[in-house]
């Protein structure tokens, strides 16, 4: 089934009108313009278009009301917004403001299935003992390092993330050894595992496995490549 979707602008209008119409003043053109940060004239034109689509019902200078069809759309959007914001804030642990911005950006594009699965994941983590705590721990140590384009020493490249070698910043025998083993600028590299005692690490490069101490790996600058191996 193809979901017929309005433009994201239209959805924003409907969502704002729904929110404002629940206040005692009702949804008025000036308030809508203020909430959406646009000119009142723009609002008038948009409202007319929505009215033509049978989503709004209003008379000049009166409060704007939603038709049942308009209310349906507005509630859907609002529901997605709330669900997304909740997911971003509670499950992903973003700050309220960041969660709000992210939700506003995604509410129009996320299909109902995506929103549903996100909610399901959050509920799953919370309903299984210990899961959410583990996840919170991982989340808190991650510090946004998986963002694409990050550059770091090879010792800080998380397991399961590929990196591209940018430079081997060490002199003498260690550099010679590293480059002759194939750790040269431009090559793809990944940390395969860390020894049980925490050091050294095993990396995969040029189709084979190489181990080195973390102190040695720190000299190798890598740019993270998003995506799992």
């Amino acid at each position: 089934m193809k979901i017929e979707r309005l433009s994201s602008k239209a959805e924003d209008y409907l969502e704002t009108i729904l929110r404002l119409s629940e206040t005692p003043r009702g949804a008025r053109t000036g308030d809508i313009a203020e909430a959406l940060d646009v000119q009142p004239s723009t609002v008038s034109a948009a409202l007319k278009s929505l009215k033509d689509q049978g989503l709004l019902d209003y008379s000049p200078y009166g409060a704007v009301g939603l038709t049942p069809k308009g209310r349906q759309v507005a509630e859907d959007v609002s529901g997605r917004h709330v669900a997304l914001r909740r997911f971003f804030a509670e499950t992903l642990g973003l700050a309220q403001e960041d969660a709000e911005v992210a939700a506003c950006g995604m509410e129009h594009d996320a299909t109902p299935l995506v929103v549903d699965r996100m909610g399901l994941l959050g509920d799953f983590l919370r309903s299984h003992p210990g899961m959410i705590e583990k996840w919170v721990k991982v989340r808190e140590t991650a510090k946004g390092e998986r963002a694409p384009g990050v550059e770091s020493g090879l010792d800080e490249l998380p397991q399961g993330v590929r990196g591209v070698v940018m430079a081997v910043n060490v002199a003498g025998g260690l550099r010679k050894r590293l480059v002759e083993m194939g750790v040269t600028p431009g090559v793809l590299i990944a940390v395969e595992r860390v020894a049980p005692l925490g050091d050294p690490i095993a990396v995969e490069v040029r189709g084979y496995r190489l181990s080195m101490r973390k102190a040695e790996a720190a000299h190798i600058r890598v740019k993270w490549r998003p995506g799992l191996i």
């Binding site: 081997v168 025998g173 050894r177 590293l178 083993m181 040269t184 050294p200 181990s211 080195m212």
Partner: protein
């Protein structure tokens, strides 16, 4: 034929470590091989001379290297041997499952100006990974024939030798295949121009080496100057060190060839078995318990399984000695009898009683190395060992040291870097070995109450390990100062070794031990026998022969004989040395009798107990001897007992240890340095403990 056929063709076998080079060598060399060291370094040289198709061949297995830039002794040797001009042809063994890195070495080999042949080894394994190779294209790209081989079955080795003979007969050297790019090529040409006396190939090779930062003391000043100038220019332009840029170019070549010659690549299944095994063997939780279990297995294999044959050897030698005494004409040449029975048979025993342990140790090491687990041992233990100033691979020698120091020192062969290896050799004897246990077994019950015995024994072992760690750190801070050797090490794929290669590996090492360490041990054992025999006492304080004849009971006769033995020992060189060193050991709480036992114990630590029995006129004693314990209790305080154990723990364990050290460091300087150093450390620690004990009145009652 126009030119006379060479009398002998030298074929060098080059390749990466773990490329299966040595098993190919074993197939080709068969029983003709000879193992020795390259002069001046402890790098093993394996070679074999045999005749094939009417031509005498000398096959030399070069040390496995990843590069020929001479950063390590192995690389320097490989480079020197290839460039020496003696080699008619060089065979590079290429691991087909890891073309890219193996071809990086090829890139360097093609610059050497020697005829090349390639053995594409383990191509069957690569095929099971879904790889196929275009051999013709590969031969064209690499400038030499490519022969598929199989190290576990020996397939292809004959074709390989045939190809090598053919290429050597043609004698066309392979010329540079790597293009370093316009900029670098210009620089190389500019530097090469300065090598006026050299031909084009050699000038290019030397120019590349100079630019790569390899010292060339014979290079003309102009070349060095040009290299410095060009390197600065290229580094500025490339924005990174020149050796990195050159390695990039070589790997560019390697990757290009690898991609071109490989067909139907499906990289997902490559080394899947290794990955699965590593998930278990290097597991965060299970990795270490499995490791401990495997090491326990190695230790037991070496010592528990080695124990019965060791006893058979000792029993056999005992039977032989008894037999000789029995058939010896009574009274005839007693000195010669003593030389044969005590000196030679005792000395031979000192050599070959280690043999079962050593064979089994090398069996275990060969197995660990050939399967690929040895690299994992280093990976698992490096953090702990590195903190002690050692290397992950030092763990096995230290563990084996708990059984016997001699195989422990021989096991340091697995350490690649000289600094790590020498540090491990020099501290391994501090780990208390099994022979020293006999001394503790005698002394601890003699001086300590039952509830303390376990703790004292534990403390002694811990003291040895503590001193080993402190000395290792001290050595790293002084003699072996400098950046620690890189740990950068390949974790090779797991492979099932063939019994053949494990067997040959084991036998080579054991044979070298017998040849090199064995002769030294035998010689010093005979010397110690002489010191314990001469000068001979002819006049005693009383007429023992008459007294024994007149003795009323057998016990009284035995006591008299023991007293005579004690007097004889006191008169010998060892007895005199014991007395002479008394002033030096008195501060430690030892008298001349302990001194005599210590000197004798240098032959083997367990001799200490027997010597103490003789000097106290108790005849032959063992560590369970209650009468000896009573005598000791009457003559020494527990503090003195502890001092004796400490001294035995920390001083050089035995002749065989020194001989093994000489063998593995290839230098009497290190061996004698170890002897002196350990004696000094033992003296200082024992002195400190003894004096502190006296000061606080511990164990003096």
């Amino acid at each position: 034929m126009g030119k006379p056929a060479p009398s002998k063709l030298t074929i060098l076998l080059a390749g990466n470590p773990n490329s299966g080079k040595t098993s190919l060598f074993n197939w080709m060399a068969g029983a003709h091989q000879h193992v020795g060291n390259y002069p001046g370094v402890t790098v093993e040289k394996k070679s074999a001379t045999f005749v094939r198709d009417g031509l005498a061949l000398e096959l030399v297995d070069l040390p496995g290297t990843y590069s020929l830039l001479a950063a390590s002794p192995e690389e320097a040797i490989a480079r020197d041997e290839i460039l020496s001009g003696a080699a008619g042809v060089v065979i590079q063994v290429i691991d087909a499952t890891n073309l890219e890195r193996n071809l990086h070495l090829t890139a360097q080999l093609t610059e050497m100006g020697v005829p090349l042949v390639y053995a594409l080894n383990m191509s069957d394994e690569a095929e099971s990974h879904g790889l196929k190779f275009d051999l013709e294209l590969m031969a064209a790209l690499l400038g030499g024939p490519v022969v598929p081989t199989n190290g576990s079955t020996g397939e292809g080795t004959d074709a390989l030798l045939a190809a090598a003979q053919l290429v050597a007969a043609a004698g066309t050297p392979c010329t540079g295949r790597v293009n370093y790019g316009l900029d670098m090529e210009q620089s190389i040409a500019a530097v090469a121009e300065q090598f006026e006396g050299d031909d084009a190939v050699s000038a290019r090779r030397r120019a590349i080496a100079l630019l790569d930062g390899l010292p060339d003391p014979h290079a003309p000043a102009g070349a060095r100057e040009a290299a410095g100038r060009e390197a600065a220019r290229l580094e500025k332009r490339g924005g990174r060190p020149l050796d990195v840029q050159m390695a990039e170019a070589r790997y560019g070549f390697a990757l290009g060839v690898a991609v071109d010659v490989t067909r139907e690549s499906s990289p997902h299944v490559r080394h899947a078995r290794t990955l699965r095994l590593d998930n278990l063997l290097l597991h965060r939780v299970w990795g270490l318990p499995i490791f401990v279990f495997l090491m326990w297995g190695v230790f037991n294999l070496v010592f528990a399984l080695g124990e019965p044959p060791m006893q058979w050897i000792e029993a056999g030698l005992g039977w032989l000695a008894g037999h000789i005494v029995a058939v010896w004409p009574a009274g005839a040449a007693p000195l010669l009898q003593s030389l044969v029975v005590d000196g030679i048979i005792g000395g031979v025993g000192g050599v070959i009683s280690f043999l079962p342990n050593i064979l089994l140790l090398f069996l275990a090491i060969a197995f660990l190395e050939d399967t690929g687990y040895m690299a994992r041992v280093a990976f698992l233990m490096d953090r702990a060992m590195h903190k002690m100033g050692l290397h992950g691979k030092s763990f096995i020698p230290m563990l084996i040291g708990l059984g016997c120091t001699v195989p422990a020192i021989l096991a340091t062969r697995t350490l690649e870097h000289k600094r790590d290896r020498f540090t491990t050799i020099l501290v391994a004897p501090f780990v208390s070995c099994g022979a020293r246990m006999t001394i503790y077994a005698l002394l601890i019950p003699a001086f300590f109450a039952p509830q303390w015995r376990g703790w004292v024994l534990w403390g002694i072992y811990m003291a040895g390990i503590l001193v080993a760690v402190l000395v290792a750190r001290l050595l790293r801070g002084t003699l072996f100062r400098g950046e620690s050797a890189p740990f950068v090490m390949e974790l090779p794929p797991y492979r099932l070794p063939t019994w053949r290669s494990v067997g040959i590996h084991m036998w080579d090492r054991a044979w070298m031990y017998l040849q090199k360490a064995g002769t030294v041990i035998l010689a010093i054992s005979i010397l110690l026998w002489a010191l314990g025999t001469f000068p001979r006492r002819t006049e005693f304080s009383r007429d023992y022969a008459a007294a024994v004849a007149a003795a009323a009971t057998p016990e009284a006769a035995a006591a008299l004989e023991a007293a005579q033995q004690a007097e004889a020992l006191e008169y010998t060189a060892i007895g005199r040395i014991g007395k002479a060193i008394e002033p030096a050991i008195r501060p430690l709480g030892f008298d001349w009798r302990v001194g005599t036992a210590l000197v004798g114990a240098f032959a083997a630590k367990e001799v200490f107990v027997a010597q103490m029995g003789i000097v106290f006129s108790l005849g032959s004693a063992d560590e369970g001897s209650e009468s000896l314990r009573q005598t000791l209790r009457a003559n020494y305080t527990p503090l003195q007992g502890l001092a004796m154990m400490l001294f035995c723990l920390l001083s050089a364990p035995c002749v065989a240890t020194i001989a093994a050290t000489k063998r593995e460091t290839d230098s009497w300087g290190w061996a004698l340095g170890m002897l002196l150093g350990m004696t000094a450390i033992a003296w200082i620690v024992t002195f400190a403990v003894f004096r502190l004990g006296l000061l606080f009145g511990w164990g003096v009652g």
